[in-house]
Symmetry: C2
Subunit: 158 residues, 2 copies
DNA sequence: TACAAATATATTGTGCACAATATAATGTGT
DNA sequence: ACACATTATATTGTGCACAATATATTTGTA
């Protein structure tokens, strides 16, 4: 992660990976008190953002795989996560008659209603970043480009 | 995370948090094939970086809490992690005679020797980021500043 | 010197991530 | 129509993160 001509490359403070790791944990730590009143974990909030957006586009129900591709998660993570969300009454999981392999995911009224309570979260977090809108946009873009490079490298080595 | 005057603030693509979440997972995914030959997980690699650096400064053995403060991890995470690393023969855990509450952590010869095999990892990852050294340094700095802001906000709300 | 507060680590339980494998349904080629 | 590959999801097992609680030791104080 760090540099080729550095005195001590294994120093923790040289690692971009550790900066990312720390920032990600600090970020989810800030979400936690905002999500706790909604009885949501952070990954569940991500799933809701996907589903609310699909509902807006009238593309529900959707396949589990669509959620997985959008968030980069496999069924080993999603199946139990979606089951917990179903238990909470936020969504329903049902095998399609047209193709029994596929499980269709759809929001319940409760799941749709939860969106109202989540509306204020993005603005609250924006304030807590302590950055200007332009700075955030730029940083997000830089991080997304890094992610692209990393995924390309990953595919190459496979 | 996103913006105050945005048409749809809850869109996934507006979230800085999701960019961070994705980048962090892409990054650890790239480390995995490099660490697997050393039988290391990514968090274990972080612990090793802390310990190797302390050894360089002749500050071993050290307290569990020092590792925890450096990495931002609590004993609920560290105790089992350090036990697994002890089982592998990389370090020893021993209560101090001077203060029986404290567990001293020290590297074994095997743990010290593992450093040689890890030397090449930072350079390999640097190449895979696809970024110039200056770009990485700048991005790391920007992410670290974000982390500072987020932690400040977290402390305030507590 | 008792005794309460503070400190350091450990334990328990939940929920991700992720690898590896399993299961079942659908599609394909002959 | 039948074997075989492909696809979609589920299951199992390991290892973090993190909250909540427990335990044991030391420190400070009346």
């Amino acid at each position: 992660m760090p540099k080729p001509e550095i005195e001590y490359p294994l120093a923790l403070e040289n690692q971009l990976c550790f900066a990312l790791y720390s920032a990600n944990r600090a970020m989810t730590a800030l979400y936690r008190p905002l999500l706790e009143p909604l009885d949501l974990t952070y990954p569940q909030y991500l799933v809701f953002m996907v589903l609310w957006e699909l509902q807006r586009k009238k593309e529900l129900p959707c396949k589990v795989t669509l959620i997985g591709n959008t968030l980069g998660l496999d069924t080993g993570t999603l199946t139990p996560l979606l089951k917990r969300m179903e238990t909470k009454g936020w969504l329903v999981r049902e095998r399609l008659l047209s193709d029994e392999r596929v499980v269709g995911i759809d929001l319940t009224d409760t799941g749709i209603a939860l969106k109202r309570k989540a509306q204020g979260i993005p603005a609250k977090l924006f304030c807590q970043t302590g950055l200007e809108l332009n700075a955030i946009t730029g940083l997000k873009k830089a991080i997304e480009e890094l992610t692209c490079h990393l995924r390309d490298s990953d595919r190459q080595s496979t």
